[in-house]
């Protein structure tokens, strides 16, 4: 690792300060503070509609905050131009809630899409890289299928392969296990864990799936009313006496 990279890495990969966002009269985020350390996985929990997904979209610049600061590897990203933001986005992988695969493209083309546009790889190397990526999520046999022809769990795997295509340092997961059966969900969890250990990747997982959050993350944060109500390890959350936290953790028990 050279000197400039080290300097960059000394800042936390993701740092969010007093972030506000509202749509019309509807306040979605009211002063979020977050910091994720290098190699750490943070799960953001909360009810539907509490702005968890909006938080991720702000971090990758799909939406602009009303105020506050977002730093990716030390660089402020609010107010960047599209071209500047795209340079940041190349370091971030994003897995969408419904995978958001390009439905006109095959599985192989979906994963090749970012590679074709951001790497000068020759065709043969790119093909090999796509196959490697798909093999790493167990989808190497479905190259020529269209997204509509594979199951939701398989779409998630392909989405993950696509998110990993540019070897990102940061991964953002929007409800990675939503809509999946428990077995498929735990397979996706296992994949996420493997990606993190293999790649020294920093990630934020937005979810309301508690078992999944517990499995994949080092730290959890529970959101309520556009703010972080509590953050810490799973044990920290369990020890909390806050009525909302207790209610949230104990739904399934």
């Amino acid at each position: 690792m050279n000197a400039t990279m080290k300097a960059k890495n000394s800042a936390p990969p993701i740092q969010v300060k007093t972030l506000y966002k509202s749509f019309g009269d509807q306040k979605v985020l009211s002063g979020i503070n977050l910091e994720v350390a290098q190699g750490e996985t943070l799960s953001v929990l909360g009810q539907s509609g509490t702005g968890k997904s909006v938080l991720l979209k702000l971090i990758i610049g799909l939406q602009q905050p009303d105020s506050g600061s977002i730093r990716i590897q030390g660089q402020e990203i609010t107010g960047l131009t599209r071209e500047q933001m795209n340079e940041i986005r190349k370091k971030i992988g994003f897995l969408f809630q419904n995978s958001a695969l390009y439905d006109a493209l095959t599985v192989e083309q979906n994963v090749a899409f970012p590679l074709e546009r951001h790497t000068g790889l020759p065709d043969a190397d790119r093909k090999r890289r796509v196959r490697e990526l798909l093999a790493s999520v167990g989808m190497e046999k479905e190259l020529d299928k269209l997204p509509g022809q594979i199951s939701g769990g398989m779409q998630k795997r392909v989405g993950l392969a696509r998110a990993l295509a540019l070897s990102p340092n940061i991964l953002l997961f929007d409800e990675p296990t939503a809509g999946l059966d428990p077995i498929t969900a735990s397979e996706i969890d296992a994949l996420i864990l493997r990606m993190q250990t293999e790649g020294d990747i920093t990630s934020i997982v937005v979810t309301h799936d508690l078992p999944s959050a517990r499995t994949v993350s080092d730290r959890l944060a529970l959101m309520r009313d556009g703010q972080i109500l509590i953050e810490g390890s799973f044990n920290d959350l369990q020890e909390s006496k806050d009525e909302f936290v207790v209610q949230f953790l104990n739904r399934d028990h």
Binding site: G24, N86, R89, R117, A165
Partner: protein, 272 residues
Amino acid sequence: MASSTAADFRGARKTNYPPSIAFLIRFFEWFGELGVFCFKLLRSMFLPPYEGGEFAHQLDELGSKSLPLVALAGAATGVVLSLETRDSLVSFGAKSLLPALLVVSIIKESGPIITGLIVSGRVAAGIGAELGAMKVTEQIDAMEASAVDPYKFLVATRVLACVVMLPLLTLAADFFGIIFGWVTNTLTEPISFRLFIENGFKNVMFSDFLPPTFKTAVFGMIIGLVGCFQGMRAHGGTEGVERAATSSVVLSSLFIILADVVLVRLIQVFFP
């Protein structure tokens, strides 16, 4: 960045204006958003890298695949014009003018406008539905998230493909219109194709032919812009996609007709 964060939460906006004012606000908002959209498009269009592969794909998808439809519409126009004008001309004793009338009418107006409207029906609806579906299923967000500019990849390629293909499709409509005009004419009263063409084009100048053909590039721009714009601002699931597709056809057809009025007058002024 994200084009319609506000649109996704339209329900949250205050709606206590009387309906007429609310309509006016929406009307001006639409044009305002269209202006921003065009600005983003222009900005993306001229910055490298260029999406040549996708552009070629769209030329085929939007252009070549519209050819059968346009040819058919052109042919039908030729047949109808020939049938209708024949009787009128006979009653004035000016039957010999029929080829000229048919040719001029097709290349100056019928061919271009029929092509514009037919392609608007096929292509604007297609683009509106495709981009609308991509928007509501977050595929456009996914594209942005992987650092690819959707204005460059999706919008610029489609708008340019429409601009390039419309004049070419118009030529096809003109061609089939004139051929089938002759066929119809010849079935009633045989006339050689050569004589028909010679008579038809006797007084046609290049300036009668080029401006009306190239004005369809403007129709193409309208089709591409409106389809992409309506698609990119779609929101609210399947219903949103349906709205995007319908409004794309309606608005692009309407703007084509309005633009035609202006363009015809401009052509008269600049190519007397």
